[in-house]
C-alpha cells in the first residue's frame, strides 16, 4: 500500500477521536455509573471476606479463610513450613522444578525477569493494528498458555505436600533400615534432628520432603563427602558458596556431629543400587 504503520495508526486514532466525540456517550454520568456499581461490589466483597474470615476463626484457630494470626514469630523454631502469600505460589513452586544451586536463579530471577520484559515490551513487539481476538491467534494461544501455566503452578504451590517434623520423625526407623545405619546411635539421633529441624522444608530425602528453593535431594549425599565436611558445611554454608541456606551452628557441636554422621551414612537406598 505504500503507507507505513505509523500513518495508518494515526489515521485510525483520529477517526476514533472524531467518532467518540460525535457519537460517544458522556463518561459522566454513564460510564461513571457503571464504575460506581462495580466499586460498591468490590467494597462489598472485601467486607464480606473480612467478616467471614473474622467470625469463622478464633485467634490462632483457623476458620475457612485462615486464622487471625499464627503463633508469634520464633526464629528458633525449625518445624514451621514456610509459605508465601498465594500470589507468589507460582514462584514458590517454580523453585521446586529447578535444581539448587546451579540453576535455582533461573527460577528466582531468570524466569520472572524474562516474563516482566515480555510483559512490558508487549506493545512494541505486537505492532499489528488488528484488535479482534479471533484474528490474533498467536496472542490468544500465548495468553491461554500463560493463564494455564500460572494456574497450574499456583495450584501445585497451594497443594504442595507439607512436611511436618512430628510426622517425619516416624520415618527415621525406615530410613535407618534402608540406609543401613540402624546400629549407629549417633546417625539415628542425627536422622531425628534432620526430620525435626526443618531440613525437609527445603531438602528431599528418600522421597519425602518439600524441595523448596530447589534444594538438592540428600538420600545419597554420603557418597560425596565425609561427616567432618558436613559439620563444617552446616556451620557456615556461605563459606561453601551457598548463600541460600542459613547457618545451623545454633544446634551446637554435638548435634551437628550427629547430623554429620547421619549424612555420611546416607549412601542411597539399597533398593536403588
Amino acid at each position: 500500500m505504500g503507507r507505513d504503520l505509523g500513518e495508518l495508526n494515526r489515521e485510525e486514532y483520529a477517526r476514533y477521536k472524531e467518532d467518540t466525540k460525535k457519537e460517544g456517550k458522556g463518561f459522566f454520568p454513564f460510564a461513571m455509573w457503571h464504575d460506581t456499581v462495580m466499586s460498591l461490589v468490590v467494597v462489598g466483597v472485601i467486607t464480606a471476606l473480612a467478616a467471614i474470615w473474622y467470625f469463622d476463626a478464633d485467634g490462632t484457630e483457623s476458620g475457612i479463610l485462615g486464622p487471625w494470626y499464627t503463633e508469634p514469630a520464633e526464629p528458633g523454631t525449625t518445624d514451621f513450613i514456610p509459605r508465601p502469600d498465594w500470589f507468589f505460589y507460582f514462584l514458590f513452586y517454580l523453585l521446586r522444578i529447578f535444581e539448587w544451586p546451579e540453576t535455582v536463579f533461573i527460577a528466582t530471577v531468570g524466569i520472572p525477569t524474562i516474563c516482566l520484559i515480555l510483559l512490558i515490551g508487549l506493545p512494541f513487539y505486537d505492532r499489528r493494528r488488528e484488535r479482534r481476538p479471533l484474528h490474533r491467534p498467536v496472542a490468544m494461544v500465548a495468553a491461554i498458555l500463560t493463564i494455564i501455566s500460572m494456574g497450574v503452578l499456583t495450584w501445585k504451590g497451594a497443594t504442595a505436600k507439607e512436611a511436618l517434623g512430628s510426622e517425619l520423625v516416624l520415618l527415621v526407623p525406615t530410613w535407618a533400615e534402608e540406609q543401613g545405619f540402624a546400629d549407629d546411635p549417633q546417625a539415628v539421633s542425627g536422622a531425628e534432628l534432620f526430620a525435626q529441624s526443618g531440613c525437609m522444608n527445603c531438602h528431599t530425602y528418600l522421597g519425602e520432603g518439600n524441595g523448596n528453593l530447589g534444594a538438592p535431594d540428600l538420600s545419597e549425599v554420603g557418597r560425596t563427602n565425609d561427616a567432618e565436611y558436613f559439620v563444617r558445611y552446616l556451620t557456615n554454608p556461605a563459606a561453601f558458596g551457598n548463600n541460600v541456606m542459613g547457618s545451623y551452628s545454633y544446634l551446637g557441636q554435638e548435634n551437628l556431629e550427629a547430623l554429620g554422621a547421619f549424612l555420611a551414612a546416607s549412601q542411597g537406598s539399597s533398593e536403588d543400587n
Binding site: K25, V37, V43, D85, F92, V109
Partner: protein, 267 residues
Amino acid sequence: MAAKSKRQQAIDLAVLTPLDWVDERTGAVRGTKWFLFRNVPRDISWMQTLGSAALTAFIVQALTGAILAMYYKPSSEIDPLTGKPIAYTSIEAITNELTLGWLVRGMHKWGASVFIILLFLHMGRVFLFGAYKYPRELTWITGVLILVMGMLMGFTGYLLPWDQTAYWATVVGINLNGTAPFAGPWLAQFLAGGAEIGSDTLPKWYALHMLLIPGALIALIFVHIYLVTRLGVSSPPWSSERAGRERAAAAAPSGARAGLVRGSGGD
C-alpha cells in the same frame, strides 16, 4: 447583557466566584470538567469497569492502611507485659480490642488479594481487547509497573503481623532475592536489615510498605489515569459502532457501488 435575578447573583457570589478564583490560579475546574465531561465510545462494556474496580480496592487499602498505621507498632522486641513481640501484640490488640479493628484489619488483609486479582483481570481484559496497541503503549507499561508495585506491597505487608507465617514466608522470600546474580546477596542483606532477619528488619519493611512503595504506586496510578483520560477509552474490538473502525462505505469509491447496483460496472 441580560440582567441577572437576585437569586442568580447570590449563587454567582457564593459558588462561582470562589471557583473561578481557584480555577484562574490552578486550572482545577477546567481539569475536573476535562476528566468528567469527555465522551467514551457508546458500546463500552462492564468488562471495562475492572480498572476503576482495582482503583476502588486500592483506595480501600489506603484508608484501612492509614487506620492500621495509627495502632500498629513495628518492633520485634519482646513486650514485657505479654511476653510476645511488640508488633504481634499490637496486631492482637487491633484484632481483639480496638472497636471494629477486626474489620479494618480484615478489609486490609483481604483487600490486598482482591486488589491483585482485579489487577490481573484488568490486564487480561486489556490484552483481550488489544487495547495496549497504539497509542496506548505507555498506559500499558505504567499498568505493568502498578502490578509489580502491587505485588511488592503484598510481599512487604505479609511480614508485618510478625507471626510464624509472616516470618517464615519472608525468610524464604529474602533467600530468593539472595540467589540473584551480583546484586542478590547485597539485596538480601539490605532487606533483612543485617545478616539475619531481626530487630532492624521490621521497621525497614514497614517504611517500604507504607511510604516508599505506596508513594510510587500513587504516582503511577495518577499517570495511568491521566493517560487513560487523555487517550480515551477504547471500544471493544468486535464493536459494531464506528468508533475507530475502517469505514467500509466511505472507503469504497461511490462509483463502484453504483456500478454494482446497475449490474454494469464492477471491476
